[in-house]
């Protein structure tokens, strides 16, 4: 039996204003809310609304046979609440079906675990409470920012007894050249299970769907479901194969526009997957394994991530611009906590979203449309102005 777990995610950071040195200390906010609104509305029109409605339709069509997981940063939900509240209503409707599972993640989409464990725990806790309050759901699965994982993350999550599973990236350094189609057990008792993203199938859709130079172009739902069926040949001994497909919702209709046929693809996929009766859609919380001791251990001291080709922290902390700006941020967060300035602290935490640091990386620069700066240096400069502005507001 092939277990198919689909993980969708929504996230957008707040857009930063383009600042000059003369704005420092004199502006009311470092965020460009108008630009954020325009951007969120655009993405909601092109992607969130049509895709989530399509998923709702699929739920209806397949009853409990089609299931998927969904997650979102606190930042995107705050913005949707403000600019496109109907999207939240659609998610609420989805959550009523009981066939979706909502994941926990760091509220601000940050790397706080690297700088301050308490800050990380605060963020996860804030996210769990927020999901509970909004959707009446207690998350059982955790995905870290950029799927970053090491044993240290498992350690930090030990106190969250409701979290049973962690979703992360397969890494050659940990599992060697195995296909990563199994369920793994985590180091430590809680969380228990490690789910590994299916790199090939996830990336084929995200990066190759519209790639005319790709030898498999065009990718049809029929072809894709056949590839999923073929997974059984990878690991004949395994009774249970796990195929974890991880997608940004923005891929559907926004990164890949509607004319690419991506939404039709999504609509056709579940019936094709279910056709032969050998596959089933499940939710992470439905994973049961009587024989956990027989599972292979997934343990790593080094951080792994979804990012770049190095699959480590380099895409986010690989250059001095990224390191210096993150150090500036976290040192100011510490000072702000000492002074109990809640409003300032909230703004700083918004600035901890990893997107700002991706804009300082040669690897990511230009690949994301939220980068409205001409160079990595100008992204850096603008970010330091923003931090300096908040720094001047302190004291």
């Amino acid at each position: 039996m092939i277990n198919i777990l689909i993980f969708f995610r929504l996230h957008q950071p707040y857009k930063l204003k383009k600042l000059s040195i003369f704005d420092i200390g004199s502006i009311d906010t470092v965020f460009d809310y108008n630009l954020s609104k325009a951007s969120i509305e655009k993405i909601a029109n092109l992607s969130y609304r049509p895709t989530l409605k399509l998923l709702l339709k699929l739920m209806d069509k397949f009853d409990s046979k089609f299931k998927f997981s969904i997650s979102f940063s606190g930042l995107i939900i705050e913005q949707l609440n403000e600019y496109c509240p109907d999207i939240i209503e659609i998610i609420k409707e989805l959550s009523k079906t009981k066939n979706i599972e909502i994941l926990a993640e760091p509220y601000y989409n940050s790397l706080s675990f690297l700088y301050n464990e308490n800050e990380f725990i605060f963020e996860v806790n804030k996210h769990i409470n927020f999901v509970y309050n909004l959707f009446n759901f207690i998350p059982k699965t955790f995905r870290n920012t950029e799927l970053i994982y090491s044993d240290k993350i498992a350690d930090s999550l030990r106190g969250f007894t409701s979290l049973k599973n962690i979703l992360t990236e397969p890494s050659e350094k940990v599992i060697g050249f195995k296909p990563g189609l199994n369920l793994y057990k985590a180091y430590g008792k809680n969380p228990q299970y490690i789910l590994l993203r299916n790199q090939k199938l996830s990336d084929d859709l995200t990066f190759n769907f519209s790639n005319k130079n790709w030898k498999e172009f065009p990718l049809t739902a029929e072809k894709y479901s056949r590839w999923i069926d073929d997974l059984q040949f990878y690991d004949k001994k395994a009774k249970n194969i796990f195929c974890n497909l991880v997608f940004d919702i923005e891929t559907f209709g926004y990164y890949l526009n509607e004319s690419s046929g991506i939404l039709e693809f999504l609509y056709d996929l579940p019936s094709l997957i279910l056709k032969k009766g050998k596959n089933q859609f499940i939710l992470p919380s439905e994973i049961t394994n009587d024989n956990i001791e027989n599972l292979e251990l997934f343990s790593t001291k080094d951080y792994i991530s979804i990012g770049g080709s190095s699959k480590n922290l380099d895409p986010y902390l690989g250059n001095d611009l990224q390191i210096n700006s993150q150090l500036s941020l976290y040192s100011l967060i510490e000072q702000t906590k000492e002074q109990n300035n809640e409003l300032l602290l909230e703004n700083l935490r918004k600035l901890s979203s990893i997107d700002y640091f991706k804009n300082m990386s040669e690897y990511f620069f230009g690949t994301y449309d939220f980068s409205n700066f001409p160079s990595i240096e100008s992204s850096y400069q603008n970010y330091l102005y923003a931090i300096s502005h908040l720094e001047e507001k302190l004291i």
Partner: protein
């Protein structure tokens, strides 16, 4: 007396100190009843006749061809236009990139003409040979050299429409045009040295430019150097006849006295203001910042300007993990420069080689405690500043620590500097320039 004044920069075309120096100089020359015909690297073929002080800000153009003139009169006859619209029409724009930082002059400076055959106007064999060399050195297809050719061509077109007594050309970009004007009309040439290629490059530099500088000074009847420092350099490096060199220091055109500080930061601000190139010593500034911030973290170091080392400096400063204590502004226009100066407490000019250096005078007028390198012309004429060798990071560090620990002292030195700078005015230098002109007529 009427002077043909050739310069690559003039307000509102500002990239470095040259524009402000020419502005102050022309203003004071006009006060002395000297008429100026100004030719700039404008997109449209035009020159500017300046007869009194007021003309300097209006920059009323005279057109070489009637088509441009009609177009201009058509566009601007009804008085509802702004001056910047006129400047845009002429192809003068604010904040162009410096020619010295690289050849990234904006498209707006493009001309479309061909190189004028200079040698037709020459008789003397020796001069012909020198000209041949000049032409060879201008033959590069690089943007900057092409623009120099075009400027020279434009000046040649103006020559038939104007009369003057002396040609006064500023820096190498205008020397070919200066020589052409001087030879065509048989009028004396004054070559003004604001900076040599040695200063700009912070090393050996471009040989073609050295040759143009050499020819420009060799064929000149007088060479005006902005400092003794530069005079020594042109004697040693270019072997220019000392008898025709006149040292006339740049001065400072004081618009108003700036008493009130408009702070941006609560902590003391230490400023670097200039092109971010090897010549200006930005790396020494960073080194000082690194040491100060270690001992005294509650300061802000700010680097203002652009240049070929800007990206490198941003990366190096991040590498030093100076957090938000070391910031960059990029290019700032005049108004913004004044704003940043009014928010500054200490300024450092760590230039490796600075023929003059007008920025410290401006800083002084804002009551800023100023540290300048001994390798600068400006250090010859000011007293109430700290003078250090550009490489002496230890001394710069200890001066700044001393000032930071004694704010009263910092304010006091700033006040003395502000008083001193009121005395360094263009009128005195203009008098010396007039004297130099009179020697030639």
């Amino acid at each position: 007396m009427r002077i043909l004044f050739l310069t690559w920069e003039f307000p509102p075309m500002i990239s470095g100190g040259l524009a402000m120096a020419c502005y102050g100089m022309v203003k004071s020359l006009l006060k002395r009843n000297i008429e100026i015909i100004l030719i700039l690297p404008t997109k449209i073929d035009a020159y500017f006749v300046l007869k009194n002080e007021k003309d300097i800000d209006d920059l009323k153009p005279t057109f070489i061809n009637d088509v441009d003139k009609e177009k201009y009169e058509d566009l601007f006859h009804d008085k509802t236009y702004t001056q910047s619209e006129i400047f845009e029409f002429l192809g003068i724009c604010e904040g162009i990139n410096g020619y010295s930082s690289s050849n990234k002059l904006k498209q707006v400076l493009l001309f479309s003409n061909f190189f004028f055959e200079i040698e037709n106007n020459l008789s003397n064999q020796n001069q012909l040979r020198i000209f041949e060399e000049l032409k060879t050195n201008l033959l590069s297809s690089e943007d900057l050299f092409r623009k120099v050719r075009e400027y020279t061509n434009k000046v040649s077109k103006c020559l038939y429409l104007i009369d003057f007594d002396i040609v006064h050309a500023h820096d190498w970009l205008c020397y070919p045009a200066g020589i052409l004007a001087s030879k065509t009309k048989s009028k004396p040439l004054v070559s003004h040295i604001h900076a040599t290629e040695f200063d700009r490059s912070g090393g050996v530099g471009d040989e073609r430019i050295h040759k143009i500088e050499y020819i420009g000074m060799t064929l000149a009847d007088r060479v005006i150097s902005v400092s003794n420092y530069t005079a020594n350099l042109i004697v040693n490096r270019y072997r220019i006849d000392t008898a025709k060199i006149r040292v006339i220091h740049n001065a400072f055109h004081l618009k108003n006295i700036h008493k009130e500080k408009r702070r941006i930061f609560k902590d003391p601000v230490i400023l670097f203001l200039g092109r971010i190139t090897l010549q200006k010593g930005p790396e020494y500034f960073l080194e000082v910042a690194k040491r100060i911030i270690k001992i005294y973290p509650m300061v802000r170091f700010i680097m203002v300007g652009t240049g070929d080392l800007a990206t490198k400096m941003i990366k190096s400063s991040a590498k030093e993990r100076l957090l938000t204590r070391f910031l960059f502004t990029g290019f700032l226009n005049r108004e913004e420069v004044e704003s940043i100066l009014s928010a500054t407490d200490i300024m450092i000019l760590p230039s490796v080689s600075e023929p003059f250096g007008i920025a410290p005078l401006e800083a002084m007028s804002f009551g800023i405690a100023t540290i300048i390198s001994k390798q600068s012309g400006v250090s010859e004429i000011v007293e109430n500043v700290y003078k250090v060798d550009f490489w002496d990071i230890d001394q710069m560090t200890s001066i700044i620590l001393d000032l930071l620990s004694d704010p009263n002292k910092m304010v006091k030195i700033g006040q003395l500097a502000a008083e001193e700078v009121t005395k360094i005015q263009w009128d005195k230098s203009a008098m010396m320039i007039e004297k130099c002109y009179k020697e030639l007529i």
